[in-house]
Symmetry: C2
Subunit: 186 residues, 2 copies
């Protein structure tokens, strides 16, 4: 049961956002810019970074939602998402994304873990300053979203099918338009 | 030296925000709602929570800036801010704030660390659901801001006087109006 009285019937972060629409707005605006807005980093790659950080933080809701969005973006049957979580260095993703996942995993542990060598390795794979910036901020932002979702002990039904349909919709419509739906419900 | 080419002469998060104004906007909007907008939790208490989490994450820039804002809000000569960082249970703050700092410190380590007993203890000191929600989200948000600031290895001059004047201005004007200044400079 959630630690505070959150609206019932909404999963994970959606219940917390319906409880406090004032903070929901910037939280959704940030996700929209980082994950859905046009970017030289493909949408699926950005969602894989979000998924991987959420996996490292052991947040069921975030890793399942963003895994579903990544799968929808990449037209993946979830095998790739699972392989990235298990061992991204062995997964069929670009070397550039691997170098960015190394940085994201360091940020998840704490920002000071990122080294100049990590940045040089990403640059050697063609990563731009903005792509490195966005990787650091996606990893930092999911260090927030994960703590928010689990720190309130939100309702997170363990049924992946529930998340798959929503993943397809969010992949297409993004975060700001999706949020209007449950903020209206509350 | 920062890991990427950030605008020079701006400290900490300000350089990263000037580099990427698209993400600066929701980041400042979130800080504004959580720390500066009217709230039943006093502004100084909210800034102390932000300072304490930033201290636990060893982020010099954030703990010094938000410590300066807290000191300005509380008309403190920095002794209280220092005592909260060293041992908040022994500091001259309310029992309610102590119970919220316990929750914030758990969130800093990971959301799943927060227990029902922690929440009950905060309720017993008069904390409302919204105050508990905001404490969890402030602690989660600084787990992001701290990683962002240090993950890019931003410039953080170690001169507290530099931060004190700015702390007074931000305490009064808030985050959105302050951000316009350096976003214009960039």
């Amino acid at each position: 049961m959630p630690h505070i009285h959150l609206p019932e019937g909404l999963q994970g972060i959606r219940s917390a956002m319906a409880f406090r629409p004032e903070t929901a707005k910037p939280l959704n605006d940030l996700a929209e810019v980082l994950l859905h807005a046009p970017n030289s980093l493909p949408q699926g790659d950005r969602e894989l970074i979000a998924t991987y950080v959420s996996y490292l933080n052991d947040c069921y809701f975030c890793q399942t939602v963003h895994g579903a969005i990544a799968a929808a973006c990449l037209d993946d049957d979830y095998n790739l998402v699972k392989r990235v979580k298990a061992d991204f260095q062995a997964a069929e993703i670009s070397n550039k994304l691997k170098s960015l996942l190394v940085i994201a995993a360091k940020v998840q542990k704490g920002g000071k873990n990122v080294t100049s060598e990590d940045i040089q390795a990403a640059r050697a794979q063609g990563a731009t300053d903005t792509e490195i910036h966005d990787t650091v901020l996606i990893a930092a932002a999911f260090s927030m979203y994960n703590r928010y979702v689990d720190g309130l002990d939100t309702w997170q039904p363990h049924d992946e099918a529930l998340y798959r349909e929503r993943g397809k919709k969010t992949a297409q419509d993004g975060y700001v338009s999706m949020s209007k739906e449950y903020l209206r419900q509350s």
